[in-house]
């Protein structure tokens, strides 16, 4: 059996060290080792976006990232989006805009949205649809997700 390695990285702003085998994905470690099950597993081959997290600020499918690659990395998951017991504006917009239904794809969409709005605080509808194309939803209907992203961007613009 391959040797386990210690990996130290930042997860949601806190330094964490965990043991992992070289072939373990970041998704597996998040869910099975660190009990961060908000990151969902949909396909395990990078086609649904349910496992989207931010790795050094960039959205990635955590099922395609090996945990051992994350030494020194800064990882953000859905569990870290809300702060001080309050939903973040993007989460509030998804809730108020009914941009979630069964909810299994929601964490992935929110993480992708967070990355989008960091890169581009004022995205056009076309840019939103292009950026979120890696996230698959089977039941919400997408339309309200677009509106929730727009609402988040508009709120941020109004506050600045």
């Amino acid at each position: 059996m391959s040797k386990q390695r210690v990996v130290t990285c930042s997860i949601n702003g806190h330094e964490e060290s965990f043991l992992c085998r070289p072939r373990q994905t970041l998704l597996e470690v998040l869910r099975d080792v660190l009990d961060l099950t908000g990151t969902k597993e949909g396909c395990s081959n990078g086609n649904c976006g349910a496992c989207t997290i931010l790795l050094d600020g960039r959205p990635v499918d955590s099922c395609l990232v090996l945990a051992v690659e994350c030494e020194g990395a800064e990882i953000e998951t859905i569990e870290g989006v809300a702060a001080h017991g309050q939903l973040a504006p993007v989460q509030q917009a998804f809730l108020e805009g009914a941009a979630l239904q069964c909810g299994i794809c929601t964490p992935g969409f929110i993480m992708s949205t967070k990355a989008l709005l960091r890169e581009n605080p004022h995205p056009s509808e076309e840019q939103i649809r292009f950026y979120l194309a890696g996230n698959l939803c089977r039941c919400t209907g997408y339309d309200k997700i677009v509106r929730a992203v727009q609402a988040t961007a508009e709120q941020a613009a109004a506050e600045n």
Binding site: R129, G134, R138, Y142, D143
Partner: protein
């Protein structure tokens, strides 16, 4: 006890019910803390499945497992192991044969790979469209229905216009984003706790208990499902992999999670039967449809069944329908959101659209005319409702302003087109019960063994109860998702919202009457004059006491009341319809389709929550775009395998593929007064046909088989 009338409040008196309230479990879902079956930890499992579509298992050897590190338990599915000369016959690729539980996913996968299976491979047949080939191999069989009404031959002979054509709609799968499965944990030898991804919390415990491998009392099985990541009609049972999970957990002495991998999820966890048809339709020159004659066929897998309910909604006076089922070695069918209806709609509304083209008429006029003269029992609404909905949809789409006949659009490059279709559904409330507890401090808890499959069941229950007691939503704690709560029916067939809103309203009204009796006795008022409003109990506009004071009169035990349903008291109803219209563009160079605008008009009786209802329709619309344009189970005739069973090649629309979606509820007062009707199924029915009709309008020729992939569109253009 004071008798309070059981009904919904007048429409404009509601403050919570019939309002677009945010879903009460949205915080958990948006923050990642909602726990689904897949989120409960246990040993990891991998299935060993058949690579062959048709074969017999001649041997199974588990002995190599002893050399695989981390393996804690192994399971062979019943009857798979040879028993003397009796060999298990595999009838579709992906049939589970064995399961291995191990410490890590990799170890479980290694274990599954190590098991040695030998097969006697048999001939297979997976081509569901090829009726001739199926018949030649003895794999077709007459369907259950061959019916004749009136005299179709004479009506066709005497008609002004006759159209003949071939049509079809391929099989799709349920493709739940959260795969089927469970996490099972034993509490001692005789108590089993199951975290099951299910649409049927109350109905699955007995299935676990009754399995020979489990063999415990049903009372000792707890099934929980707080959240579920999609079911669409495929998650009603414990399933054999659920039993396997429980057996592995018992063997290992530890919790085990067994959820299907994506390939198995698409391959064996449910599919929607295909349907193909040769149709003759005939009409008078004014557009009145006089006759229908069809032979349709398709497959639901090894059982060889096919779709029914053709012709759909519009039933000409003279009609003949013949069906043939095809036996195929494909994954088994399960109820797929609105079973039979999307296929029946596609095989009917596309034909009517072609007839309209042959008549040189706007199909809207043909639908408007014929919905009023249909015979038979399929019309769930009066024709006037359908006609009003068609006019509403036409206005939202600007159909009259935009409409042009096939090939008459003034465009170059991308070709534009309009299409429409109608649908119907029942949506009667399912059976269900609940308990409502009013605590002495006035807080309220509800308990029901139902589940929230994304519909917003929790929120709707809270709205019903809060409205009845005159309380804010936050004063009501809703408990669902356990088979230890009062039983409630499975969430299928659009039965849930009616199935929970009726019992909860009845129980709350019952409880309210009992509380009013206490208030009347204490404050010397007439109980019949009391109402609960804004956290107070009032009589004649004056506050008698606060809700909390009223609840305090119940004593330290509070009050617990049961509610049941369905009942014929007007709280719930059945029978809805709707129309969908699509404006799209087609690139004749590539066969790509772009949705410009998609309008859905729907009636559903009393709407509990407009925001949640709209979400249901929007979700259905993207499923229509999916099966209308790209989603398809593709079987390889040579290997018998489902060759696109992954989320890369099983094409579902992405967020950039859907265009503008418009949802409108048809809800005059008579709809509000009708009672609650389920909504899950109806809006997923007619979109596929509407898309196919819009493509025909755009490119001038019929693409006969749905989904309208670029290849099928280019093939149709080439053959025109």
């Amino acid at each position: 006890m004071v008798e309070l009338k059981v009904d919904w409040k007048p429409r404009d008196e509601n403050t919570v019910f019939h309002h677009p309230i945010e879903r009460i479990d949205g915080v958990e879902k948006a923050s990642g803390f909602a726990k689904y079956s897949t989120d409960y930890a246990g040993l990891h499992t991998r299935l060993l499945t058949s690579p062959h579509a048709h074969a017999k298992i001649t041997s199974i050897d588990l002995s190599p497992l002893k050399d695989v590190a981390g393996v804690k338990a192994a399971y062979v599915f019943p009857q798979r192991a040879p028993d003397g000369d009796t060999l298990f016959e595999i009838n579709w690729e992906g049939t589970p044969i064995a399961a291995v539980a191990a410490e890590t996913p990799a170890q479980a996968a290694q274990g599954a790979k190590a098991i040695k299976i030998e097969y006697e491979v048999l001939d297979h047949f997976v081509d569901e469209d090829d009726l001739e080939a199926a018949a030649a191999r003895g794999l077709s069989k007459p369907g259950r229905r061959e019916s004749v009404d009136g005299d179709p031959d004479a009506a066709i002979k005497n008609a002004d216009v006759v159209h003949k054509g071939h049509y079809g709609i391929h099989s799709i799968t349920h493709c739940c984003l959260e795969p089927h499965g469970s996490t099972c944990a034993w509490n001692g030898d005789d108590k089993l706790d199951v975290q099951l991804s299910t649409q049927n919390v109350s109905g699955t415990g007995g299935q676990f208990a009754g399995a020979p491998e489990i063999g415990i009392d049903a009372a000792n099985v707890t099934v929980n499902c707080e959240y579920i990541g999609g079911g669409f009609g495929s998650k009603f049972a414990a399933d054999e992999w659920g039993i396997a999970c429980a057996a592995l957990a018992k063997q290992a002495g530890r919790p085990v999670q067994l959820h299907l991998g994506r390939r198995a999820e698409l391959g064996v966890a449910g599919s929607r039967p295909s349907g193909f048809a040769d149709v003759t339709i005939a009409a008078k020159s004014d557009g009145t449809i006089v006759a229908w004659d069809s032979h349709h066929w398709g497959t639901n897998g090894i059982k060889g069944g096919t779709v029914s309910q053709v012709p759909y909604v519009i039933q000409p006076e003279h009609r003949r329908v013949r069906t043939t089922g095809i036996v195929t070695n494909t994954g088994p069918a399960r109820a797929w959101r609105a079973p039979n209806h999307p296929q029946a709609c596609a095989l009917t509304c596309t034909v009517i659209d072609d007839l309209a083209a042959a008549l040189g008429m706007d199909p809207l006029d043909v639908f408007l005319k014929n919905v009023g003269i249909s015979t038979g029992s399929q019309l769930s609404n009066p024709a006037e409702v359908y006609q009003a909905e068609m006019e509403t949809a036409a206005e939202l789409m600007d159909w009259r302003g935009k409409w042009k006949g096939r090939g008459q659009w003034d465009d170059s490059g991308w070709k534009r087109g309009l299409g429409m279709a109608l649908h119907t559904w029942g949506g009667r409330a399912g059976g269900g019960s609940c308990t409502i507890k009013v605590h002495p401090d006035g807080t309220v808890e509800t308990f029901a063994g139902t589940q929230d499959i994304g519909t917003g069941t929790r929120t709707c229950i809270a709205q019903v109860v809060a409205e009845t007691f005159g309380l804010p939503l936050s004063a009501v704690q809703v408990n669902i998702g356990s088979n230890k709560y009062p039983p409630s029916g499975p969430s299928g067939g659009s039965t849930t919202i009616g199935g929970v809103s009726g019992p909860h309203r009845r129980a709350a009204i019952d409880a309210l009457g009992r509380i009013f009796d206490k208030v009347a006795a204490k404050y010397d008022v007439d109980a019949a004059q009391l109402s609960a409003d804004g956290e107070n109990v009032v009589a004649g506009g004056k506050t008698v006491c606060t809700w909390r004071q009223a609840a305090g009169l119940l004593g330290p035990m509070g009050l617990e009341v049961m509610g049941e349903g369905p009942k014929n008291d007007g709280l719930t109803s059945a029978g809805v319809g709707g129309v969908q219209m699509v404006d799209l563009s087609v690139d004749p160079e590539t066969g790509r389709v772009r949705i410009n605008k998609y309008v859905a008009v729907q009636d559903i009786g009393t709407i509990v929550n407009h925001q949640l209802a709209k979400s249901q329709v929007l979700g259905a619309m993207i499923q229509c775009i999916a099966y209308g344009l790209s989603e398809e189970r593709i079987m390889d005739n040579a290997s018998g395998r489902f060759i696109n069973a992954n989320l890369r090649d099983y094409k579902l629309p992405r967020i950039g593929d859907i265009g503008e979606l418009v949802v409108e509820f048809y809800e005059p007062d008579e709809q509000y007064n009708k009672g609650v009707v389920g909504l899950g199924e109806p809006p997923v029915i007619s979109g596929g046909a509407a898309i196919a009709n819009a493509v025909a309008n755009a490119i001038g020729v019929r693409v006969p088989v749905i989904p309208l992939t670029p290849k099928r569109i280019l093939d149709a253009l080439a053959s025109a």
